[in-house]
């Protein structure tokens, strides 16, 4: 535009002839090309400038385009990485995290690219897993609680039904004494006790109450009661070293019986069927300890740690963690120890090679029961304490050291071949090593039949020898005994006289001596057993 104006001005000035001065005409002649040149230069310049700008902007655009392409590529890569990371999360990490909730040993794999670990994306993905974990755990607890509630209800019903059955069975036992019927009733009662134990354990694991209120009872009753609930109860030897009358407060009776039953069940289960499980009841400073020793395989360090954790009862119990079939024993012990302030220790191995379980009952759960007014059950082992003073005075048999170390003796001793020997409940087990031989001699002739009197007389006198020692300590002699002893002396003399005539003469000698005694039966039996006194007189 400027160029046009300049040109127009130049033309105007050139075409004006009326200009008086020629110089201005020359001037205008000179000015026109200048103006044109200037205009041209200006145009060229501006063209250059415009071209440069165009070029520059084009170059810029290319750079921008390249940059955006690079960015797009990068974005594509990131999206792909993100997608594959999320896919990895869905396909691998989430299932692993879900499995980990049930099986803690499962490891959750990390992100695909390791550098993601610290990045916001990485932590966001971690949060996904954590949220999943928390929700799963809550869900698991909820479901488990529902399952436990269901099981609690079912087992409660079963338990009540089994108690009713027990009442019926015991009523029948009281009413009928036919041996065959009694045998069946005993077996049914035992089966019932075992079922009852299972139902009770399941209920306790599910957080229920033990299901039975008992009165305060002797501790040894609770232990023996627990023993009776097991299939292998004949293999259990209970050594009672408590002061007579040591009892449990009412609310601790059933829990102690359950715990002892479970500990014994573990011990019986994990030891050979020809070995004994030894139980000792001992007073300790803070209360009483029930020690259960088995001669089985024992536990590894890991197993022991796990068992110890379970019986401590500090972790909440989930049914799904107890395995299939669920192993409820230790879990039930854990529940009870926590609820009733009892203490079970499984941390030390037994000197017998198996497991030693120690149940400690603190003093606040103990009470004293007058053993005269309320004696312990007939089947419960008598305390070794009562006869402790005279027996330790007269013989070296009883020692009250740490029980299990003193009683390995009876372990190989009774392999329970005789029914009569198998119902030995370990009373005075410490003395068994010394008395083993006479005891077996005792049983021998009885099984022989035939001529039991004569054969037994010879053996029993031999057997009565060592056993006779604690007799004076027990009580004074009764008149019948004195009479029997006199009768024995007389019969001994008679036997010596008739012995000269024939060997068989010894038998009639016994009735001859009998009239001397007050009661015929007493005399006949006592002359048998006290015959050795006459024998020494011979």
């Amino acid at each position: 535009m400027t160029v046009c104006t300049v040109l127009r001005v130049a033309r105007l000035s050139a075409s004006d002839p009326a200009l008086p001065d020629s110089l201005p005409g020359i001037d205008s002649m000179i000015e026109v090309p200048d103006l044109a040149v200037g205009a041209l230069a200006l145009g060229t310049l501006s063209a250059f400038a415009l071209g440069g700008g165009l070029l520059r902007s084009r170059r810029h655009l290319a750079a921008q385009r390249a940059k955006s392409a690079a960015l797009r590529a990068q974005l594509d890569g990131t999206t792909r990485a993100f997608t594959s990371e999320v896919e990895h999360l869905a396909a691998r990490r989430v299932p692993a995290a879900a499995r980990q909730a049930a099986h803690p040993h499962v490891t959750v794999p990390g992100p695909l690219s390791p550098q993601l670990a610290g990045s916001p994306l990485g932590s966001a993905l971690e949060q996904v897993l954590q949220g999943l974990h928390a929700e799963l755990a809550a869900q698991r607890t909820r479901i488990d609680a529902a399952a436990q509630a269901g099981m609690r209800g079912a087992t409660r019903e079963i338990q009540a039904a089994l108690y009713r059955l027990q009442d019926a069975l015991r009523g029948l036992q009281q009413r009928y004494d036919d041996p065959e019927l009694t045998q069946t009733l005993f077996e049914l009662d035992h089966e019932n006790e075992q079922s009852l134990r299972r139902a009770q354990i399941a209920a306790v694991v599910c957080g229920a109450w033990v299901g039975l209120a008992r009165e305060e009872s002797h501790l040894v009753d609770a232990v023996t009661g627990g023993q009776a609930r097991l299939a292998g109860y004949r293999r259990v030897r209970v050594g009672n070293h408590l002061a007579p009358g040591t009892g449990l407060v009412s609310h601790a009776v059933e829990p102690v019986a359950i715990i002892v039953a479970e500990l014994l069940d573990n011990a019986l289960r994990h030891s050979a069927p020809d070995t004994d499980v030894v139980v000792h009841l001992e007073a300790v400073h803070h209360g009483v300890c029930v020690t259960v020793d088995d001669a089985g395989l024992g536990m590894t360090q890991d197993e022991r740690a796990r068992a110890q954790r379970m019986v401590a009862g500090s972790d909440p119990i989930l049914l799904t963690e107890l395995g299939d079939p669920p192993r409820m024993g230790l879990a039930a012990i854990g529940q009870l120890t926590r609820q009733f302030d009892l203490n079970v220790d499984l941390s030390s191995p037994s000197p017998y090679g198996g497991v030693r379980a120690v149940l400690r009952i603190d003093s606040h759960l103990l009470t004293r029961i007058d053993p005269e007014a309320v004696p312990p059950a007939a089947g419960a082992p008598r305390s070794t304490r009562r006869e402790a003073a005279p027996v330790t005075g007269s013989g070296p048999g009883t020692s009250h050291g740490p029980g299990p170390t003193t009683s390995p003796g009876p372990q190989p001793g009774p392999p329970a071949p005789l029914p009569a020997a198998s119902d030995d409940h370990g009373y005075g087990a410490e003395q068994a090593p010394g008395h083993d031989a006479p005891a077996s001699g005792h049983h021998g002739p009885r099984d022989g039949g035939g001529l039991p009197q004569r054969r037994r007389r010879g053996r029993t006198t031999a057997a009565a020898g060592p056993a006779a020692a604690p007799a004076p300590a027990r009580r004074a002699r009764r008149p019948e005994e004195s009479a029997a002893a006199l009768g024995a002396l007389q019969s001994g003399t008679a036997a010596a006289r008739t012995d000269a005539r024939s060997n068989a003469g010894a038998d009639p000698a016994v009735p001859e001596g009998a009239p001397a005694a007050t009661s015929a039966g007493t005399a006949a039996e006592n002359t048998d057993s006290n015959d050795h006194e006459g024998g020494t007189a011979r």
Binding site: D189, E193, E215, R234, A257, V374, R477
Partner: protein
């Protein structure tokens, strides 16, 4: 000793006999009288047999009485007593047979016969 606490016994009866219900001697009855022989109880005697023996220290008892004192069924005490008898720790006497009532009809006939003799 009677009138003791009720409730469910902790220790079942079968434990006292070790699960045995058939006594080794068949002749014992509910009313058989048991007497301690006075021999000292051997150390390896099962707990329940010892308990029975201790009850007999105070004097003779019938099987039923012993069962009541030990809070055991009679059948279990029969097994325990048989075990003690086998070891000569206890003596047993058969129950005294209950006196039989005379047949009143027979008595009446005898009286009638006597009366007949007298009147003849």
């Amino acid at each position: 000793m009677t009138g003791r606490r009720g409730g469910r016994p902790l220790v079942p009866a079968y434990l006292s006999t070790g699960g045995v219900a058939r006594p080794s001697r068949a002749h014992l009855e509910r009313l058989s009288v048991l007497t301690g022989s006075g021999e000292p109880a051997p150390a390896d005697l099962p707990a329940a047999q010892t308990a029975l023996l201790e009850e007999l220290e105070h004097g003779s008892l019938t099987v039923v009485e012993a069962a009541a004192l030990l809070r055991l069924p009679v059948s279990a005490v029969l097994v325990l007593a048989a075990g003690l008898l086998d070891r000569d720790l206890v003596l047993a006497r058969a129950p005294i047979p209950p006196a039989r009532r005379f047949d009143p009809d027979l008595l009446k006939r005898v009286a009638d016969g006597l009366r007949d003799l007298k009147h003849r």
